[in-house]
């Protein structure tokens, strides 16, 4: 059980750090303005487009990973036991 928690936590923190880095680069207006969840730039270049794709991937990776390891797998084991 503790292993499952550690895996979910690793996904949350590791994916969250990647997400936070890309969000600080591309979806942050300014220090005083909206941070991390602002609108992405209108015409991103190729690399920025790839980074935004990676941001979406990490978003769902964190959501599904945490859901799987903290809720899904324990519930499945409880039902099977």
């Amino acid at each position: 059980m503790a292993d499952e928690f550690a895996k979910g936590f690793a996904i949350l923190t590791g994916g969250g750090m990647v997400w936070m880095t890309i969000s600080a680069w591309l979806t942050t207006e300014s220090f005083e303005g909206t941070q991390l969840i602002a609108q992405p730039p209108e015409d991103p270049g190729t690399y920025a487009q790839f980074a935004l794709l990676l941001r979406d991937v990490t978003t769902w990776f964190v959501i599904f990973g945490v859901f799987a390891f903290w809720i899904g797998i324990p519930v499945f084991r409880e039902l099977r036991a």
């Binding site: 750090m17 936070m20 880095t21 600080a24 680069w25 220090f31």
Partner: protein, 253 residues
């Protein structure tokens, strides 16, 4: 280094581990009479049972006194532990703990390196915001310290405790009444502190508990009275000097 063909100077030393030596080693040892290139003062060639065993110099220091007692204590506890291990049929009982090096040191270094790496990564990839230089000529609309000091500004906003009009006095001598109140408060802070340690006071000074209790509340009154008297007496001369300086700067028409 292989077990059968040692190629260092250690081969010239007598073997004590029971392994038979190759032919001709006696003759080669006879040639070397200077003890070899790495002569050891602890009777080289005598191999301790493991790295925990004390050296001969360490044994020599344990012949008397506290060092002997300490040695006997640890030796006895080690022996008891060994007997318990031998008597036990529980296999995992044999591992009582892991040595600090390398297990715990490696783990601690790994954790430390991980967090230092995370800090370096964030500092490089998401550098903190550097605001522009402060403009000393413009007052910001909202004046606030960092969030962890908000509580101090909250104290300032407790209006009943912080009346807006604190008076126009700049010197205690200008308002002897309020100054006397302040003096009394400060003295009361000390006397009530002395009352808190009245057992120490009674042991040090020739004063009883009842007298100390009375002094605790009387001394602030006396100090306030004295301060009021002194400041009230000084005020006339102070105001006179103030007015004299003022009129020297701006003489009356």
């Amino acid at each position: 280094m292989s077990e059968k063909e040692p190629d260092t100077d250690d081969s010239t030393e007598p073997r004590t581990d029971g392994i038979s030596e190759p032919e001709g080693s006696e003759a080669r040892r006879a040639v070397r009479t200077d003890g070899g290139s790495d002569a050891r003062p602890d009777g080289g060639g005598i191999v301790p049972q493991d790295d925990q065993a004390p050296t001969w110099s360490e044994r020599k220091q344990r012949t008397q006194g506290l060092s002997r007692l300490t040695y006997e204590y640890f030796e006895r506890s080690r022996r008891e532990d060994e007997d318990l291990r031998r008597a036990s049929d529980y296999v995992e009982r044999d591992v009582l703990a892991f040595p600090t090096w390398p297990h715990e040191m490696i783990r601690n270094l790994a954790i430390t390196s991980f967090f230092i790496g995370a800090m370096f990564f964030l500092a490089a990839a998401v550098p903190p915001h550097l605001p522009g230089p402060a403009n000393a000529n413009s007052t910001p609309a909202v004046i606030l310290p960092d969030w962890y000091l908000y509580w101090s500004f909250g104290l300032l906003k407790l209006t009943p405790l912080n009346p807006e009009n604190k008076g126009a006095a700049r010197r205690p001598v200008e308002e002897p009444g309020w100054a006397a109140l302040g003096v009394g408060g400060v003295v009361f802070a000390f006397t009530i502190a002395a009352l808190a340690v009245k057992n120490l006071i009674a042991a040090t000074f020739p004063i009883g508990n009842h007298e100390l209790f009375d002094v605790t509340f009387l001394l602030p009154l006396v100090a306030a009275f004295l301060a009021y008297a002194v400041l009230k007496t000084m005020r006339e001369g102070y105001m006179f000097e103030l007015n004299r300086r003022y009129f020297r700067l701006r003489p009356p028409k």
